[in-house]
Symmetry: D3
Amino acid sequence: MIGLIVREWKILQDPDHVTADDFFYSGLHIASETSKQLGAFTNLLTVDSIPGLNTNGLSIVRIDYEANGGLNPPHHHPRASEILTVLEGTLYAGFITSNPDHRVFAKVLKAGDVFVFPFGLIHFQLNVGKNPAVAIAAFNSQNPGVVTTANTVFGASPSINPDVLTRAFHLDKDLVTKLQRQEWVNPSDLNSYS
Amino acid sequence: MIGLIVREWKILQDPDHVTADDFFYSGLHIASETSKQLGAFTNLLTVDSIPGLNTNGLSIVRIDYEANGGLNPPHHHPRASEILTVLEGTLYAGFITSNPDHRVFAKVLKAGDVFVFPFGLIHFQLNVGKNPAVAIAAFNSQNPGVVTTANTVFGASPSINPDVLTRAFHLDKDLVTKLQRQEWVNPSDLNSYS
Amino acid sequence: MIGLIVREWKILQDPDHVTADDFFYSGLHIASETSKQLGAFTNLLTVDSIPGLNTNGLSIVRIDYEANGGLNPPHHHPRASEILTVLEGTLYAGFITSNPDHRVFAKVLKAGDVFVFPFGLIHFQLNVGKNPAVAIAAFNSQNPGVVTTANTVFGASPSINPDVLTRAFHLDKDLVTKLQRQEWVNPSDLNSYS
Amino acid sequence: MIGLIVREWKILQDPDHVTADDFFYSGLHIASETSKQLGAFTNLLTVDSIPGLNTNGLSIVRIDYEANGGLNPPHHHPRASEILTVLEGTLYAGFITSNPDHRVFAKVLKAGDVFVFPFGLIHFQLNVGKNPAVAIAAFNSQNPGVVTTANTVFGASPSINPDVLTRAFHLDKDLVTKLQRQEWVNPSDLNSYS
Amino acid sequence: MIGLIVREWKILQDPDHVTADDFFYSGLHIASETSKQLGAFTNLLTVDSIPGLNTNGLSIVRIDYEANGGLNPPHHHPRASEILTVLEGTLYAGFITSNPDHRVFAKVLKAGDVFVFPFGLIHFQLNVGKNPAVAIAAFNSQNPGVVTTANTVFGASPSINPDVLTRAFHLDKDLVTKLQRQEWVNPSDLNSYS
Amino acid sequence: MIGLIVREWKILQDPDHVTADDFFYSGLHIASETSKQLGAFTNLLTVDSIPGLNTNGLSIVRIDYEANGGLNPPHHHPRASEILTVLEGTLYAGFITSNPDHRVFAKVLKAGDVFVFPFGLIHFQLNVGKNPAVAIAAFNSQNPGVVTTANTVFGASPSINPDVLTRAFHLDKDLVTKLQRQEWVNPSDLNSYS
């Protein structure tokens, strides 16, 4: 909920007690275990992790993808654009433009490749290589927010009226309610064995 | 595509030729036919319809919903918040917060009820009444953009790799590719007999 | 005073206690009695009425105009543009550009007509029809502020030096001081029998 | 009109041809003749006078006030706050808050005194001393705009419906139409003998 | 440190207790003694001096320069553009563009001359006349910050690794460490006899 | 000069001709030769390199540092904050706060460490390890600008009055003029053998 309410402002502690550690994070070189459900994990560092990001309009994420299909599933950031750099592996990455065209801009990316996801648009990355992949990405918000598309609509709590999803997604109502009862693992969820 | 590229700036014609008509639109009292697929229609007025909105950071939409289930399906606006007012009928309306909570904030709304959809979050309205419903809503952007969730991911052009949608949505690959071959009608599409 | 000091930021309560009602208002379908002085009433909903508007940059107003001359008098919003939609009746509405031209952009509006009032410019609506009129309008600020032109300069408290108004408005000093002693009813004042 | 349309963006010439003169203006030490109507003159330097202000969000004005009553009449800037410094003389200066309070914040200012006029609020300065006065002020916009209150509503072109002004200002219709036929000199008008 | 942490927001006291004095400062006509080290003094008025600047995005400074070489040394404002007006004397003033060109835009300015220093660029003023000089300047931030170039890198506390300055400035390490041991007087330091 | 003039807006080509390549860059995995003067090289990707960054408020840089002293010298970005991630090696990195404190916030960083450089403040990185180092960093501007401190003041073109630098930096005039005659290599200069 914090993304909803606070958006961009948070009070730092007394300036006299700020130290270099408030502008620092250690550990982005560490590969994370990925969840079974998605085969990916995101370690997102916002102002909650690095207090010095306050008022500085930036945040960063490391993304790990398991070999052969690790997926950072379709999602958007309600308050940021994104620039992603592949460090290792081979990713099929893209974004989709808004109504009415839904035009796909996608590329297969390798180490050293950079891709831009415009402000607020749905995007994704899929590991299409035979090895694990790693990327880091930056956002122009200290609290960009993440809205994972499928998880948000099917995993909403409490469940939304299934008629909404049945008609919107062209699915049988039974399938919709079955989907609504499933567990929807977010890319940043630590339950890596789900 | 225009939402992607232009975002907030567009050049008006020579100031000497601007008239009151550049700040004017007529017809928002007119009910639109709704599409068979969604049972709803949105008439969105951005800077493309009202040049005087240029630099003024506002736009407006009228939404018609057919009786018994007309749906403005889950969607988000990449560049705007929204405030909606029901003019007629009974709507189940809500939005879903970002990861990790996906908390639903929803209400049944009647004429004269107002609801706020926060910046960039997925939201929807469903006509749960026995009569047609009408709402108007305003956005704090001259070009808010609309990303209809299901249409964007399943109706993308060209189709995105089905492995992305299969894993993200917990669906069989056959169903995903079947969905990808369907026509996805946007709420503002004029093909009201689809 | 709150408009002066706070402008755009207000702290919401604990996120855990936010509910759908914080994003909701009921009653915009209700016609308000209009004051004798202006023959109009504005029911403005800002972040003070709808806490969920916080950080979402929008607010909304319903305006009622009595038949034959109900007036939303010349005013400006120091922190917002406005888009107005007529729901019922016939309004003469317009705005005036800044120095040196003071050019008028005005139209007679009927139900379903939309008009834009650019950021910070003086504008007005007059009911030129034989029936009551109703409009709703949206602003791109959670706290747009309203500066009713005549009320602000003649109804200031304490009264400003009458030499200022005498010279500025080309009026006799006696008339200025007489005007300064009058009651100046704002369009949102509840004393509807003044 | 340019303030209405362009607001904050204007294209500079080819960067290769920009020189120090594009960031420079000479002559703000020169007293201007003041108009008979107001007894004041404003020399406002925006991006139109100093191209280097483009994208730099600032502008500046020198104001001359004749002795005994020179008036910079009530006005507001639709796109800026203001900070004023008195260089010579004695000014009664103030601003008025928005609805519903219309509270006056005013002071008598002498050389070296500084006063702030908040964003979008109506303000004025009157020379209450026996000598000419001079002030300079800065705005946080490259094109702040000036809306002189009386001139805008009574000197609008074409004239607005007198019923609007009669009811808003509590004046007889005859007086309103007489005022509408007058010449309304702006503080920056060069016709200093009007 | 406050510039680093707070940047643009500070809470005013209870609106009911705000008075005109919160928007006022007296004394900008007073010449300040200048320090021996720089021969200049800056009296900068931010929101810390004038609470009414809060949310109004402006601040102001008076600069005194001693005759024959008084210097406002190279510096930049991390959060503002600047517009400077010379009141008395003759200044050589300029700014330097960013990498790779480092192009100088400079002029000799006299009373009544205005010069613009673009957002975030290094600039300076040197009194090249035989008399004291005075200027006032405005910034488009309530807390612009000042980074005096030499003082910041050589007078940092604790001292930064001298290898950084040796290589960056093409200086001998002995000279660097000697410089790092010196006192670096800021233009706003009150120790005017240093 | 482009940073000075354009700041944040640049027109993309016809939307119909935009492709995924406009959002893409390849090669950030490639180590660059570093200049003799600084022992470092920066490969900065702004909207000039990746047109799709237009309106998306982000840019990125890869920095290579030679072993034992490679230096990204003190500099600031006039229009951006920065977040840096070390990929290889050991860097001493820090920033210095504005007047009057000039407080240093610095750390020795290793692979996987992240550090934030606040908006507009001077910062640097020095390779204090025995191996080459690599970092990537992101900025919240599509055109952040780089002002390398020493190069800008000593390598300005044409040279600024040496009295400015003599007094500001506490150096002999002979040394200042000698420094002004030197070549000042920017971290992004391709003349890697200078």
